[in-house]
Amino acid sequence: MASMRTTRRNLLRTGWKLGGGALAAIAGWTSWELLRPLSASGAGGKIKLGDPQNFASGTATFVNEGRLFVVNAPDHNGQGHYFAISQKCPHLGCRVPFCESSGRFECPCHGSVFDLAGEWISGPSPRGMDQHPLTLEDGVLVVDTGKKLTGPDHGANQYVSAPKGPSCAGKG
């Protein structure tokens, strides 16, 4: 029990430990506040896309302002659905172009292929392409680029169909 006594040495030792710990915590906190990524950076914000009728069924239209594609994808019953698909590949962040000839998204970096609605078909991507929420406000399509919806998992296959034509990647 003698060791539990508060001697000057013990007090100082504990004081150094607590003080050091507090200093480290403060240093960590201030560093984090300084270095943490600024919120709502980049493209975040709402973009008005216009009348939904402008986007014909089976097409993908690139919107440079939000770095996204607006697609009108028919499901297996022929019913059209609108999506705002982020151009960024969920695999390693490359920009995925839309291949007009095959009617699919084909990533140039590592060969991931997605259908018109951004569902994964093949390649190393861990999921389908990410999306932004799309709403209809006063008859106008509005996309919120500040929010991101994680793309559908492998095997969603609600919109997938045979390719329209040859792939853009060709044979390399």
Binding site: L92, G93, R95, G111, P124, P126, G172
Partner: protein, 439 residues
């Protein structure tokens, strides 16, 4: 020690008189006496020479002893610091001016392109040399007691070297750097739970932009150099204190006990060159056990100056010549201005991460992006503490050598396939048809 410095020969000529002057002697306190004592005093009284011990074991002089890989990496670092400082005079870390600065360096600055070339090739060489250094140290069994911690420091230096190369990769702000760093930083996304946060912290936002360029620049020119200098100092200090690399000749001490004794003969009393077979005791601050254990034949050491320093000078000049030749012959790439909405085909990570990218194109991201690289690093880190086999000879550590060799071959194979054989759409394209290698 008695203070019986023999007087120098009578000054001859102007130069000799300068060296005898009070001003000169206030800088260089000891005359350049060509005696063991004179040489020792010169080393002791010179802060730069004092990095080395006064005497080193003879085996250290042989090239095949260590292939001088650690020294070569250090020389490359010195070249990188020198060329890097020149580049800093002409570079602004801003997305609007960085690319223009690179172009100006190419066309408007005398030797600007050459300095940039040398910087780039030295950086690639440094990564390569540090990795080979690690492999050599492994094969020599030099991570074992008492060098466990120095092995860890070495791993830290490897990580810093990779960080250097990766942060520097972004700075030209061209298509190559932008997309290599995009792909490279997106690898971090696959870290469970914290991946996105770490990535955003690293690049300072959702995607690579001004914040990223500024962060990478600060890391590249301030944080990493300081870290590397600190770790390297301790690393070299411990190499010296642990008796340099492992002795491999047949006459060396038995495995396991070797090099527990400091080979640092620097503190030895070097008054006279003793006759062979005379044993001398080392004087210096050593623990009690060492004082009694540290008796050795004196003729297994040679003076660092000139024996080792001349060899180091030759190797250092050789490294400088190689990087200069590479810089003259091959221009560092500069593609078009970085374009965040157009990915070039193919988009590859820098070559030392391309093996990881290759792995990611074949396996689950959690396995390929996290388990394999983190596992490999952790395994290397704990290796000296779990490998209880004291032997350093290859024939007594077959399992360790076979496992390490397999890992090394697989990693090299993946890197070669990713760097040389992958084309647009990540399809296999033989390099003799079209090379998509990006350096």
């Amino acid at each position: 020690m008695t203070d019986t410095v023999p007087s120098a020969p009578a000054p001859r000529g102007r130069w000799a008189r300068v060296r005898e002057s009070e001003a000169w002697r206030s800088v260089f306190r000891h005359p350049p006496l060509d005696t063991p004592r004179g040489r020792a005093l010169q080393s002791f009284s010179n802060v730069f020479l004092h990095v080395y011990p006064v005497k080193v074991p003879k085996r250290v002089l042989r090239l095949r002893y260590s292939w001088r890989l650690g020294y070569i990496a250090t020389v490359l670092f010195a070249i990188l610091v020198t060329t890097g400082i020149y580049l800093m005079f002409f570079y602004t870390p801003s997305v609007t001016s960085a690319y223009g600065d690179m172009q100006k360096l190419r066309t408007g600055v005398g030797f600007g392109q050459l300095v940039r070339n040398v910087h780039r090739w030295s950086a690639h060489l440094m990564v390569l040399v540090v990795v080979i250094h690690l492999a050599r140290v492994f094969y020599a069994g030099a991570y074992k007691r008492p060098r466990q911690f120095n092995w860890l420091l070495g791993l830290g230096l490897l990580a810093i070297t990779l960080g250097f190369s990766f942060t520097g990769y972004l700075l030209p702000w061209d298509q190559l750097s932008y997309w290599a760093v995009t792909v490279g930083t997106n690898l971090v996304n696959y870290v469970p739970l914290l991946g996105g946060t770490i990535r955003d912290l690293l690049i300072g936002g959702e995607q690579i932009g001004q914040a990223t360029l500024q962060r990478f620049y600060a890391l590249h020119v301030a944080v990493l150099p300081l870290l590397l200098a600190m770790l390297l100092t301790v690393h070299i200090w411990r190499v010296r204190k642990d008796g340099f690399a492992v002795a491999r000749d047949a006459t060396s001490q038995p495995a396991g006990s070797q090099s527990t004794a400091p080979a640092d003969a620097g503190e030895a009393d070097v008054d006279e060159a003793p006759a062979p077979d005379v044993r001398v005791r080392l004087l210096g601050v050593v623990d009690r056990q060492s004082v009694t254990a540290e008796e050795r034949l004196t003729d297994d050491t040679v003076f660092t100056w000139p024996h080792l320093l001349v060899r180091h000078a030759v190797v250092g000049l050789g490294v400088a010549a190689v990087t200069l030749a590479l810089g003259v012959l091959f221009a560092a790439p500069l593609r078009g201005l970085a374009n965040p909405s157009l990915t070039p085909e193919p988009a590859k990570a820098p070559w030392y991460f391309v093996g990881l990218q290759e792995l990611l194109s074949r396996f689950d991201p959690l396995v390929a992006g996290i388990f394999v690289p983190v596992g490999a690093f952790v395994m290397l880190g704990v290796l000296p503490y779990i490998d209880r086999n004291p032997a350093t000879e290859a024939r007594h550590r077959k399992v360790a050598i076979v496992v390490f060799t397999i890992v090394l071959v697989v990693a090299t194979g993946l890197t070669v396939v990713g760097a040389l054989f992958r084309g647009p759409g990540w399809k296999l394209v033989p390099p003799w048809q079209h090379s998509y290698l990006e350096l």
